[in-house]
């Protein structure tokens, strides 16, 4: 595309008063030879926008720089369609609102931002979407229990061909074996008939292709083109599917580990599931039953988490006993009754039926003459209490996700690890070989676990965030939950699957860069097979051949640029985001000579959290050091060390990386971006020192969106420390 570049400088909101606009125009026209440069007092107003539109239509402008407010505002106003590149130079929030008006330093800052925007434009192209041939929009659901059946039905009802794979010979899973189920609708008081038979029928009627007694031998490819090998009855079937819902459920916690509650010792101490089957089979005759909650759950020795469903399930089972025999004596021993939300009504219903709830820790279970006795530390009674003559004691033994069973993936080959022993390395997520999807992914065959084997999302706002694009976990395999939640979760995951196949068809990324049509391209000629990209991709998008050549799978890619940042040979780039693009922006910044005593600090800021925080500092008119020049990056994971070189060589006195929080409660939307950047940084400190450059000149910090009040101090303190170090010795070498 032949670029015709136009720069529009808005003088509104005080920009015109604070800055020398003519000088800015000169930068565009004279220094950078922009085709057009215009100023307007109210660029986002109708007339201002009309000027730009007119230039696009009549002057052939196809590349626009808007120098005015932040790209966080007026994005719709300055959107001129898919064929016009628009770049914003933020003169308002990050220049005049946080720096003094009519000031030499402020002016220099503004001019640099114009330069950076122009260079950025020169180095970017309109992305062309990645298109897949033989694309499939089929949704595959793995697991035919309550969640899986629901997910399959929901996606079929949305008009998508759906495939369901179940390892047992019968659909229904854990819920299928239940006598009745907890209420899923108001008034949340009545036991409901088991929904599985109806659900199975509906799934069949909706035309879902069902494979029972089937397991997945292999899942290759990526979204829109997953090639799945299904083993069934000794043979194999191939399905090409677009996206996958993993709904393989959970298993009850191994009760044999609950000997302290009499399991294994006394025949009549049974599990929640055994009780369910007993009632379903019509074999439950007990007149006195105790339910023991948190049998395994909320116990650091067993399952540290709460299994979420057991309280309402036990309430339900207690009601079974009362349904059969209203005179039966039923006791529930609990830590806290967790009948959240409207299940409070269900709890009350059980109380009204006469179920006795005892807040207490069971201290002993004994048996005499076939009847059981329970001793408990009875909290609200303030004493030890005993109850005896139980026919049955039912342990609410919690749940463990099916994804937790199997061997853990070993870390990379020993020798490699040894060779790189002095290099810090990001520890990848744990993957357990649970034999469910058998993904042909370089990073391992299943979804990475988050904690306790649950392949859950780490994000509160984005519960379907997945580290394997196009594969969404749902139901109790994802997190401990009750049936009501699982029902919703199934539909939610189905939506995400549907969304993924639609986006893939258009060549667009899915969350968090949804709609992004760019994707990384590899210049394989220069690849040294170092494996950094294949290891570091947070989404496992890049496979490897035997010679360790990267094999990118663009439909798995989320466009964060981590591979681009990782690559020492700089062979990976996007049409609109590349190592040279940022490098040239660095180089475009004017670095005054040492004698001018105007140091320069380069900031690479994550565009998700740090950039808005910087904007917020401006909105709050917080003043900070005018030596900084800020370059937004997709994610600090995309930080390529050559940019640091460029900056140092150019004479910058310091470089600061502003990324998201990492660690257990990480905030990075690409999982490890900021952490990777810091690790990369640590690798060059030695080099810097060797060059006589203090490694303290380059550092990383974490900023969240609400840290805007700390930004001035953060920058000012860094500047002070740099002053103590003195100017960059490379400054005047260029």
């Amino acid at each position: 595309m032949e670029k015709k570049i136009a720069v529009y400088i808005c003088t509104g909101c005080g920009i015109g008063d604070a800055l020398d606009v003519d000088a800015l125009s000169n930068v565009a026209l004279k220094e950078y030879k922009a085709d057009i440069c215009k100023t307007d007092a109210f660029l986002c107003g109708k007339d201002g926008v009309a000027v730009i539109k007119n230039d696009i239509e009549n002057e052939g402008v196809n590349t626009v720089v808007v120098a005015g407010c932040s790209s966080r505002v007026n994005a719709d106003v300055f959107n001129f369609g898919p064929n016009v590149i628009v770049e914003r130079a933020n003169l308002r929030e990050q220049v005049i609102w946080c720096h003094p008006a009519d000031d030499e330093d402020t002016q220099m800052l503004a001019e640099d931002y114009i330069r950076m925007a122009l260079v950025k434009q020169k180095n970017m192209n309109l992305p062309e979407p990645y298109q897949v041939e033989n694309l499939s929009k089929t949704i595959m659901v793995v697991g035919g229990g309550f969640t899986g059946l629901t997910a399959a039905l929901e996606s079929a009802k949305a008009g998508y061909r759906t495939v369901l794979v179940e390892k047992e010979d019968k659909l229904g899973g854990y819920v299928g074996k239940m006598y009745k189920q907890v209420p899923l609708k108001p008034p949340f008081t009545d036991l409901e008939e088991n929904c599985i038979p109806g659900l199975v029928k509906a799934v069949e009627e909706a035309g879902v292709k069902v494979y029972t007694s089937a397991t997945i031998a292999k899942t290759a490819g990526g979204p829109g083109m997953f090639d799945v090998t299904i083993n069934q009855n000794g043979g194999t079937v191939e399905e090409r599917v677009g996206a996958i819902v993993l709904a393989t459920g959970a298993r009850p916690y191994d009760a044999s580990k609950l000997a302290h509650l009499g399991f294994g010792q006394y025949e009549n101490v049974i599990t929640q599931s055994a009780f369910e089957e007993m009632v379903a089979a019509g074999n439950m005759e007990a007149g006195k039953v105790a339910f023991i909650q948190c049998a395994g759950s909320r116990d650091q020795e067993h399952l540290p988490y709460c299994s979420a469903a057991c309280c309402v399930e036990s309430i339900k089972q207690a009601l079974y006993v009362k349904e059969k025999n209203p005179e039966a004596n039923v006791y529930v021993y609990y830590k806290d009754i967790r009948s959240n939300g409207q299940y409070e009504h269900f709890y009350k219903k059980a109380q009204q039926a006469g179920v006795i709830f005892i807040k207490g820790d069971v201290t002993a279970i004994t048996e005499s003459d076939g009847q059981l006795a329970i001793e408990a530390d009875d909290k609200t009674m303030g004493t030890t209490s005993e109850a005896d003559e139980f026919d049955l004691v039912v342990l609410a033994n919690g749940m463990v996700p099916t994804a937790a069973f199997g061997e853990m993936i070993e870390e990379e080959a020993e020798e490699e690890a040894a060779a790189a022993a002095d290099e810090p390395k990001v520890v990848g997520p744990t993957i357990i070989k649970s034999n469910m999807l058998n993904l042909e992914y370089r990073q391992g065959p299943e979804l990475p676990e988050l904690k306790y084997g649950f392949p859950d999302s780490h994000y509160i706002c984005f519960p379907y965030e997945t580290r394997r694009t196009g594969i969404y976990a749902a139901g109790v395999v994802r997190a401990p939950m009750d049936m009501l939640s699982a029902m919703e979760d199934a539909a939610g995951a189905a939506l995400k699957a549907v969304q993924c196949v639609e986006a893939t068809a258009k060549g667009e990324a899915v969350h968090p860069r949804s709609g992004d049509m760019s994707f990384p391209e590899f210049n394989m000629n220069r690849c040294t097979q170092c494996k950094r990209c294949t290891e570091e991709c947070p989404f496992g998008a890049i496979n490897e051949d035997e010679k360790a050549n990267p094999l990118p799978n663009p439909t798995r890619c989320r466009r964060c640029g981590t591979c681009m940042g990782a690559c020492p040979e700089r062979i990976i780039s996007f049409k609109n985001y590349s190592v040279p693009m940022i490098g040239n922006m660095v180089k475009a910044i004017e670095v005054p000579e040492e004698l001018d005593e105007k140091p320069r600090i380069l900031v690479f800021a994550c565009e998700n959290d740090a950039m808005p925080a910087l904007d917020m500092a401006g909105i709050n008119r917080l003043q900070y050091n005018p030596w900084v020049r800020i370059i937004p990056v997709r994610c600090l994971g995309s930080l390529n060390l050559v940019w640091i070189n460029d900056a140092m060589a150019k004479g910058f006195d310091g470089v600061l990386l502003m990324g998201c929080k990492h660690g257990d409660d990480y905030q990075c939307h690409f999982m490890k971006g900021s952490e990777l950047a810091e690790i990369r940084l640590s690798k060059i400190s030695e080099t810097l020192n060797r060059l006589g450059l203090e490694s303290e000149r380059v550092r990383a910090t974490t900023v969240n969106i609400m840290d805007y009040d700390k930004i001035p101090a953060m920058l000012d303190e860094f500047a002070e420390e740099l002053e103590e170090l003195g100017p960059n010795p490379m400054k005047d070498f260029q």
């Binding site: 540290p304 409207q342 859950d456």
Partner: protein, 419 residues
């Protein structure tokens, strides 16, 4: 031919999610939001449990998604007036209330400097004031000012209009009505904090040092009325002790019959706010059951270990104020100790629960509600779905999950309507 577009009523986290998820599948979506900004209740939350991360982070991403997606149309200061038709073809009238600031607003803030009138800041639950022309909050999306007609002195004052260089102030703006035709409707109008004035035994409204959990969020927030400092409202001084009263309204036949699901975790989170600012403050939580379900149990465990809190099993019965010191006495039956305990605190935080907005304002269509007023999804009118906290009391992650699921239900309605 059915309409494939979807109306989402409510622009909070549930509504935004439902709208974005549907739009990213490829559907045209309209969001109708009654506030002058999108984001709803979560914009007023300081941090989410259990990660203690700022909600603005996720909102920022969601607003980015809106900016980049041409299929999303939104209306702020808008409310649905009527709905007719059926699944696949609903006619909806939407009233657009006057903002008195038009699309010319650049967000420069000159008007606020000129405005002589003040109003109680609803965003901070009345804990401070703004001018009559104000930016709802600094992360407001869209970033446009708005005029509170009840506080504004009107056209004869007109100072804001005089200083605005962009002709953005229109003090004579009138309400407008627009009509939309959509295939499905998602009702995601969320919740209101339960009115703590109704819990007279806790003295809210009479004792200024009794606040609610939502006020605590504002107080702890950097962009809140105290710039993030947790202090005694009566004198702005530091606190040495704080009590959290759980189930203030929830799990109560006289108030909210359901459990509000989030308050236990919210109070545990608030305990971390307090602990961060006051390493030695006494923190007591009065509770019936601590409901930290699923993996939230880890957060409960962590807060117990790290924040050094005292948990008292016993619903707080009463709060009394010492008029001279403004200290508060909380009386409760400590059931483990089997005794009535009276303890003094500088600050009492009521963990008030979630009242669905539909307890007060019904959907203008044939719908069903449960005994607390929560909307029953799709019960009477196919094609109208409830999402998020208007349906169940949910934490944010669950509300987002629910909203995502509901987006699919709405899409199904538009598919069904086509057959």
């Amino acid at each position: 031919m059915a309409n494939k577009s979807i109306l989402v009523v409510g622009g909070g986290i549930s509504g935004l999610t439902a709208a974005l998820e549907a739009a990213e599948v490829g559907h045209e979506v309209y969001i109708v939001e009654k506030n002058p900004y999108l984001g709803g209740k979560v914009t007023q939350i300081n941090q989410y449990f259990p990660k203690l991360c700022p909600p603005n982070c996720g909102l920022e991403i969601n607003f980015q998604r809106i900016r980049k997606n041409p299929r999303i149309n939104f209306f702020t200061m808008a409310e649905v007036e009527s709905i007719s038709g059926q699944e696949g073809n609903f006619d909806v009238t939407v009233k657009l209330n006057p903002r008195f600031v038009n699309e010319n607003c650049t967000g420069c803030g000159k008007c606020t400097e000129a405005c002589p009138a003040e109003r109680a800041n609803a965003f901070n639950y009345g804990l401070d004031k703004t001018k009559a022309v104000y930016l709802p909050h600094e992360f407001a999306f869209p970033m446009k000012y708005v005029i509170d007609a009840r506080a504004c002195k009107g056209a004869e004052c007109g100072k804001c209009a005089q200083v605005c260089e962009y002709n953005a102030i229109d003090l004579n703006m009138e309400p407008k009505t627009i009509n939309l035709n959509v295939g499905a409707i998602v009702w995601a109008t969320g919740w209101d904090p339960y009115d703590a004035n109704k819990l007279s035994y806790y003295g809210f409204g009479r004792y200024d040092n009794v606040i609610t959990n939502v006020m605590m969020e504002r107080m702890a927030a950097l962009n809140g009325p105290t710039k993030g400092k947790i202090v005694r409202p009566t004198d702005g001084k530091e606190i040495k002790s704080v009590a959290f009263i759980q189930c203030a309204g929830s799990r109560d036949e006289n108030h909210l019959k359901a459990c509000s699901s989030v308050c236990c975790l919210a109070s545990l989170k608030h305990a971390t706010y307090v602990r961060e600012q006051y390493p030695d403050a006494e923190i007591c939580i009065y509770y019936i059951d601590i409901r930290a379900r699923g993996k939230y149990e880890d957060f409960f465990t962590k807060v117990q270990e790290e924040a050094n809190i005292t948990l008292i099993k016993g619903k707080a019965g009463e709060v009394k104020e010492d008029p001279s010191t403004k200290k508060l006495v909380v009386i409760a039956e400590d059931q483990v100790a089997q005794e009535v305990v009276e303890k003094k605190f500088d600050l009492v935080v009521l963990a008030t629960g979630m009242a669905p907005t539909t307890a007060a304002a019904k959907v203008p269509a044939e719908m069903a509600y449960d005994e607390d007023g929560f909307l029953v999804s799709g019960a009477n009118t196919p094609g109208i779905y409830a999402a998020g906290c208007v349906k169940n009391p949910l934490d944010v992650a669950s509300a987002v999950r629910d909203a995502t699921a509901t987006a699919l239900k709405a899409i199904q309605s538009t598919v069904r309507g086509q057959q």
